[in-house]
């Protein structure tokens, strides 16, 4: 700049103004001299060069010109120095220019490279921008997905909350259902236990009732059978008794007929005894007989009354026995025992009967024999006594009557004796009754049997009596006849003796028969005693029956009460059963309701299960999706994060580098710009200088050429050399400014 200063000092004109000034100066400068052309040209050129750069005012030039004139010489020296300096400076500047040009080129190259790099970087930036945009889009998409996932997550949260609430509700319901199930189970168990108890109770009651009913049925059947048997037996007895009564009636009728006949005979005898005093006696006897007849009638009436009473009693007993049925089962057993005993008795009786029968047969045989004999005797006697027969018959009749009466008296006496004996026997029989009180029931049958026997025996006895009476009549007739025959048949002593023997025999037989009859009578009496005893026993039995009736009534009442109780129990059981059925029905209804509830709950649970399953599936799917999305998101996020980080790092690095580079570049650019500017300024200056210098050179060259031309012939090569040198010095200056 020091060099410039002088230029400034000297000539800092403008180009526009400088050119004319330069022209003026050139013109002015030419004036001083030609030796100083070069420097002046150089100066001018410098000035020109400087004028281009210099922008000093022109006013100073005028003043400087005046000073220059004064110091031209100094200036010429200075100019030489300065020219040299300038030359040096030119060289340096040229070198510097070349260096700077080189630098500029290098910088330009660098700039170009940097531009290229910048372009590349820009491309890369654009790519990266695109990538970033893509990634941003992906980020946005991911953010959207995240927002969507967040929405889904929120929805899932809501659903989870709902589900938790529902699960809580379901758990409560589940617990409630468990409790209900437990209650139902307990109730069902209770019900089963109750039903089983009912079943057991019903079975027991049924069995008891069945047993009782069976027993009662059996008892009833047995009683019915026994009653039927007894009824049949009693009907038979009744029939037998009726027959007996009929027979007795017949006997009574016969007796009545006989009585009438006797009465007739007594009347006849009375008529006859009117004639005789014996008839009075006979009358008296007849009266006695009548009394006896009346007594017999009374006895018959009593017998009839007794028969009627017995009949009534039998009827009452039938009724009572019909009423009494239950106790006779045990009595049957006793009866069986007594049956055995009485079987023996019957056997004995049968033996006796057989004996009696044999005796009867024997008697019958004997009677037949006697009849035959009597028939013979009658024939004989009929032939002998026709007239006396009437009287004798009468007498016999009387005697017969007397004898009959005597017999009856004897009978009565015997009866009285027998009564006395009967009383004794009654006492004994009472003892026997006391002994036989334990065997009451069987004695009825004994009574029946014995009654039958009695009837039979009575019949037989009656027959026997009849037969005996007839026999007696016959025998008495025979006796009379024999006595007659004795009277008549003194002659027939042998016959009488025989007859007496026969009579004795017959008497013996008669005695035997009488004894037998007595025995039979005794037996009859015994049987009568037994009948009386049995009647007493019957009375006792009646009493017992009454007691038994009472007992039976009691038992009946008890049974009725029991039946009532059983009926009540049955009713209660029915009620209980009904109640239980009702309970069962209620329980069934409850069970149905519970079943319905269970079904509903099961349905609910199924629905809930379906829902749960659906929810599970959804949750599973959602979880899977979430997991997948999470994984993907995570992966993506990770990748993205990594990429982002990497990119970040890279970008940061790049950015930093770029920033640094940019900064450097900027700095460089700035420097370069500044340098460029400076260089440009210098270049401009240099160009101006060069132009000036070129012009000077051209002028010099022209001058030289001129000189050369002048001295050309001699110094052409030198000048050419100088020109070449100068041209070499100013290779670049050929460039126009």
């Amino acid at each position: 700049m020091e060099k410039e200063n002088p230029f400034k000092l000297f000539v800092p004109p403008r180009l526009s103004a400088g050119q004319p000034s330069a022209v003026r100066r050139q013109g002015f400068n030419k004036c001083p001299g030609d030796d100083f052309k070069l420097p002046f040209r150089t100066l001018n050129r410098g000035e020109v060069a400087d004028s281009a750069t210099m922008s000093q005012p022109v006013k100073l030039c005028s003043e400087v010109d005046e000073e220059n004139i004064e110091t031209m010489n100094e200036l010429y020296s200075k100019l030489y120095k300065e020219a040299e300096k300038i030359k040096q400076w030119k060289l340096t500047v040229e070198s510097e220019l070349t260096q700077k040009e080189r630098k500029l080129q290098e910088n330009r190259n660098i700039i170009e490279a940097q531009h290229k790099t910048i372009q590349e970087l820009q491309f890369e930036n654009e790519k990266l921008h695109l990538k970033l945009e893509d990634e941003l889009c992906e980020k946005k998409d991911l953010l959207k997905e995240n927002t969507a996932s967040r929405h889904l997550c929120n929805l899932l949260k809501e659903t989870c909350t709902h589900f938790t609430e529902k699960t809580s509700k379901y758990e409560q319901e589940r617990e409630e259902t468990r409790q209900l199930y437990e209650e139902l189970h307990s109730n069902v168990e209770r019900m089963t236990v109750a039903f089983e108890e009912l079943r057991g109770q019903a079975e027991n009651d049924r069995l008891e009732m069945s047993f009782k009913l069976k027993e009662e049925a059996e008892k009833m059947e047995k009683l019915k059978r026994d009653c039927k048997l007894e009824v049949s037996q009693k009907e038979e007895q009744i029939s037998a008794l009726i027959i007996q009564s009929d027979e007795k009636d017949d006997v009574i009728r016969d007796i009545k007929a006989q009585l009438q006949e006797s009465q007739n005979r007594i009347a006849d005898l009375i008529e006859e005894k009117s004639k005789r005093e014996m008839l009075k006696e006979s009358q008296v006897n007849q009266e006695r007989l009548r009394a006896e007849l009346e007594e017999a009638k009374t006895s018959l009436e009593k017998a009839e009354v007794t028969q009627k009473s017995l009949e009534n009693e039998f009827q009452t007993t039938v009724k009572t026995l019909i009423q009494v049925t239950e106790e006779k089962e045990a009595q049957e057993e006793e009866c069986k025992k007594t049956k055995a005993l009485h079987a023996a008795l019957t056997a004995e009786f049968e033996t006796s009967i057989a004996n009696l029968k044999s005796l009867l047969q024997k008697e019958q045989n004997r009677l037949e024999k006697c009849e035959d004999e009597s028939k013979l005797l009658t024939l004989e006697l009929r032939n002998k006594s026709a007239e006396l027969e009437e009287m004798t018959k009468l007498k016999c009749d009387k005697e017969m009557q007397v004898e009959e009466l005597s017999g009856r008296l004897e009978k009565m006496e015997g009866l009285l004796l027998k009564k006395e004996h009967l009383e004794a026997t009654l006492e004994s029989l009472q003892e026997r009754e006391e002994e036989t009180k334990n065997v009451l029931q069987m004695r009825e049958k004994e009574i029946h049997g014995l009654k039958a026997q009695l009837t039979s025996t009575a019949e037989k006895e009656q027959d026997y009596l009849n037969q005996l009476l007839t026999l007696k009549t016959d025998l008495e007739q025979e006796m009379l006849k024999n006595e007659q025959l004795t009277v008549c048949i003194n002659k027939l002593s042998l016959e009488k003796e025989q007859i007496a023997q026969e009579k004795s025999d017959v008497a013996a037989e008669l005695k035997k028969l009488q004894e037998s009859h007595k025995d039979s009578k005794k037996e009859e009496e015994n049987t009568k005693q037994l009948v009386e005893n049995l009647e007493e026993a019957n009375g006792q039995l009646r009493n017992e029956l009454e007691s038994l009736k009472e007992k039976m009534a009691k038992t009946g009442e008890e049974i009725e009460s029991k039946l009532d109780e059983r009926e009540e129990n049955m009713n209660n059981l029915k009620k209980q059963v009904e109640n239980k059925t009702k309970c069962i029905e209620e329980l069934q209804q409850e069970n149905k309701v519970l079943k319905k509830k269970i079904t509903a709950e099961s349905k609910k649970t199924s629905i809930y299960e379906g829902k749960v399953e659906k929810l599970k599936l959804l949750y599973d799917e959602a979880t899977m999706i979430q997991r997948e999305t999470d994984i993907r998101c995570q992966h993506k996020i990770k990748e993205m994060v990594a990429l982002m980080e990497k990119h970040k790092h890279e970008y940061d690095k790049m950015v930093e580098e770029k920033d640094a580079e940019l900064k450097v570049c900027k700095m460089k650019q700035q420097e370069q710009l500044s340098s460029e500017r400076s260089l440009e300024s210098e270049l401009s200056r240099l160009k101006s200088e060069l132009s000036s210098l070129k012009e000077q050179l051209k002028e010099e060259m022209e001058e030289k050429e001129n000189l050369v031309k002048k001295h050309s012939q001699n110094r052409v090569p030198e000048t050419e050399m100088e020109h070449k040198k100068i041209r070499t010095y100013f290779p670049g200056t050929q460039i126009p400014p």
Partner: protein, 89 residues
């Protein structure tokens, strides 16, 4: 630079968002697991309740006992009636 900062902020926000999402997802996963566990427990309970044979067996026993009682009660009265009829006959 502002863009980079904004981008960084967005990145940070996105990262934070992602982390939040992850956390939320984890919480949701835990809740879902809990819910699934509860649902599984519920199903187990329901299955046990439904498939509980005690109720059915007890109900069968009840029905059997009830039928037995009915039969026996009916038999009782029928037999009583029959026996009464037999006795009458």
């Amino acid at each position: 630079m502002a863009e980079a900062e904004a981008q960084e902020e967005n990145c940070d926000k996105s990262i934070e968002m992602i982390e939040k999402c992850n956390k939320d997802l984890e919480t949701l996963l835990e809740e879902m697991e809990k819910i699934t566990v509860r649902a599984a427990w519920m199903t187990y309970g329901i299955v046990t309740i439904h498939t509980n044979p005690d109720l059915a067996s007890s109900m069968k026993h009840l029905e059997d006992a009830f039928l037995r009682c009915k039969e026996q009660v009916g038999r009782k009265w029928q037999e009583v009636l029959k026996e009464s009829k037999g006795e009458e006959e």
